[in-house]
Symmetry: C2
Subunit: 472 residues, 2 copies
């Protein structure tokens, strides 16, 4: 959007946010929720209305528990801190950023205190809970720890194998307009409703579920590597299919038409991007179409070549450029550090050392400077603490759901090879999307898969792929 | 935008409109305006604050004089009526649409009554006044009548000349992406600030001055006639330069940062589209750039060929496809009919006959059916009555300003031939844009040109062009 309009847009957004906040926290809202909660017919355990009210109560409490002064302070310091972070990252200067992170941590701890810490819980739980309702630090730790050690071991096996697949199939130059056509073609085949959404171009890809019948996706095109946009698009499309599957036409604005959590949202995007999009059956179907739409240059390669090329794995320094197998290790570094910062067992000044030590230990890479180390992400600078774990939770849920989907739909792999995605989409609609926020993420996982969330399905998926691609 | 989201967007727009209306018409607003009006220091005649308050009073009165029930009824019946109009136009069935137009007329007359008719005025004045504050039917009639008879005479001379210029220069096939680049190039040269606005593609071109530093333009591309988009873009750019020239950064939301009227807005778009864009000096400058950006196919023609081709004139049935010379005759037919409908001297059932008679008399064309006759425009169906005259007022103001500009800037024609538009833009900024709503259109015209609005400058401009192009 035009840069000269940024200040005006910010002012409009803030006026709207103020109006919305005032309506959401009006005393009559609290009274109405209390009145409903006193009505047994609405609160029948397990019923849809009870779940809807549980989530309304949650939203109301979250919106009213923080004093306005703290919300304003978080916003103000956060935006200053973000500006400092930009410069600090550019200069790779941790000292410059450290005092601002201190300030943000102090405010964030105060925020957590306002919510009140649950018995047996910790301050960090409240921060996770904003993005992943019901999740706790200890539950995440219990899943992440086995994942981390097994992934590090897998990474070592890949490294030793010494036979990386060729990435030549990805290095064909393809103009953006053709990539856009191909992206839209894939989205259409997967079942994204273009009457109720569209795909555009931006610097940072995103999915925005604006309202009933209006889900906007964006992507970006690199001429020299068309799979970047393809997987970016499939990722956002996964988010978009979730948004389109929520019952917004009937219940827009109510929790029952909302998404469960960032983790579940991410499970949908990762599933289409990685479990579908990077599979061999997908390329079997997609390649002939890609040749037609993107150009004959692709004709030199077959589906297996593409399957191999898009699944190369190598440890790296930058999270957003990481491959499917190593990505979660980047997340764990952040999770461990932010948890320790909040519970007081780590100090801001020790972050660079702790960061670099973990990158060496988990990923086997040496961090050369802070720009490519602990200054690489924007999140902490404006108070997004407790957010990182949801990326890996998304992968974990995706993997656990995927196992179940393949047992419910035994023809799925063959269907994908034929470009038939309707059963998969319907499964997701029925099992995940249509319930809105009726079940918390952990509960949904148990309902669908019969089990608590575990690291095993994701580990199995990543190991199987690595063994195929690297001939382990 | 995604069609499935239309209902949701309409609901959001209506909620926002309700909130804005409630704030605008709150009793404290009326009290504050009254308090200011009682303060002589603010109301010093001719001062900026007095003008600002005059316009605030106007907005407040307009917003409070209509009963909510009537506003709702106009919106409801208007949207139903528009749906009927769509079908009626398709079927070319006046009988189908007539009862709905009756309903809309009844509501529109009630609306005019709510405003109260000024002494010596007529009901139709109040309708014009919504779009062109201060303009009256009799004032418009006085300018339109001589314009009409002279234009009809000019048209007859053109028809007799029998030597239309070749339109071949326009019929080169050019892909949209190149046209887009060329449009942006022309906009940049003319002084449109792309840091504070942008050009995109839609079905219906428009300009939207969203807020400070954010002016959005749209256009549409036809491969087979690139000048359509070029002039569409230059038209919207004229609106956009007005929006960018208003003092929104300091006074957004106040009348002093608003535009005067639709007529003055249209004068800006028409000036860039027709007075600049269809001139010979413009093509002298633009053609070499066009050849570079659009392709060598243009090399067969010179600037004069393009000047001639884009100024061909022929009477036609459809307003939106009309050329510069005949366009105003289309407007006059509508103005005369809607004025007569409101003052009761014409009945709805007589519209087709009156329409067709005027097209024959003013334009010399026979209307074959109502689809291409009195059913062609959407305006009346949802109550846009009093709006049409502003199109011609725009042309009239543009012509009268243009005479003055060329006497203030004697080098302008030479500058245009060199692609220098800075002095023109600055003149418009200083004389028109920066004043916001300080002066009403008629007052501004007198301040700038020393004269009341007259048909003569436009007639001279159109006659000069026709004589050049048709060798009269």
């Amino acid at each position: 959007m035009p840069p000269a309009g940024a200040a005006g847009r910010a002012e409009q957004a803030s006026i709207l946010a103020e109006i919305v906040h005032a309506r959401r926290t009006g005393p009559n809202v609290g009274q109405l929720i209390s009145a409903c909660e006193a009505d047994d017919t609405l609160m029948k355990p397990g019923s849809e209305t009870a779940a809807n009210l549980r989530e309304m109560r949650r939203d109301y409490d979250l919106a009213t528990k923080l004093p306005g002064e703290l919300v304003a302070e978080l916003a103000k310091v956060g935006s200053q801190s973000q500006e400092v972070w930009k410069q600090a990252r550019e200069k790779s200067d941790w000292q410059m950023f450290a005092p601002w992170l201190e300030k943000m941590l102090t405010l964030t701890k105060r925020k957590s205190e306002c919510y009140g810490i649950a018995p047996g819980g910790e301050a960090y739980d409240n921060l996770i809970d904003e993005y992943e309702p019901g999740a706790t630090a200890s539950m995440i730790q219990a899943t992440f720890t086995p994942l981390r050690s097994e992934l590090s071991a897998l990474l070592a096996r890949v490294k030793e194998s010494g036979t990386p697949p060729s990435e030549k199939p990805l290095k064909v130059k393809i103009e953006p307009a053709k990539q856009h056509t191909f992206g839209n073609f894939v989205m259409g085949a997967c079942g994204f409703d273009t009457q109720a959404g569209r795909l555009d171009v931006t610097t940072h890809p995103f999915c925005s579920g604006i309202g009933p019948g209006d889900t906007r996706l964006t992507t970006r095109y690199r001429e020299e590597k068309f799979t970047d946009a393809l997987y970016g698009t499939m990722h956002e499309m996964g988010h978009g299919l979730y948004e389109q599957g929520l019952p917004k036409h009937n219940y827009f604005g109510e929790p029952r038409a909302g998404d469960i959590s960032l983790g579940i949202h991410e499970s949908q995007s990762r599933m289409w991007e990685n479990f579908v999009g990077r599979s061999k059956p997908f390329w079997k179907w997609a390649l002939p179409h890609a040749k037609k739409i993107l150009g004959k240059q692709l004709g030199k390669y077959d589906a297996k070549d593409y399957f191999m090329a898009v699944n190369t794995s190598r440890p790296s320094l930058i999270r957003v450029e990481a491959d499917e197998a190593t990505y979660n290790l980047h997340v764990m570094v952040r999770f461990e550090i932010e948890r320790a910062l909040i519970n007081g067992s780590m100090k801001v000044k020790d972050i660079p050392g702790e960061w670099n030590r973990r990158y060496q230990e988990y990923l086997g890479v040496a961090v050369p400077d802070e720009r490519r180390g602990c200054l690489q992400d924007v999140h902490w600078s404006f108070g997004l603490i407790g957010y990182f774990p949801t990326y890996t939770l998304g992968n974990l849920y995706a993997a656990q759901f995927w196992e179940r989907i393949n047992s419910d739909l035994p023809d799925l792999q063959r269907d994908i090879a034929k470009g038939k995605f309707a059963d998969l989409k319907q499964w997701l609609n029925e099992k995940v999307h249509k319930h809105g926020r009726r079940y918390r993420a952990g509960e949904l996982c148990k309902r669908i898969t019969g089990k608590e969330l575990s690291a095993k399905p994701l580990l199995k998926h990543l190991t199987d792929r690595a063994e195929l691609v690297y001939n382990l």
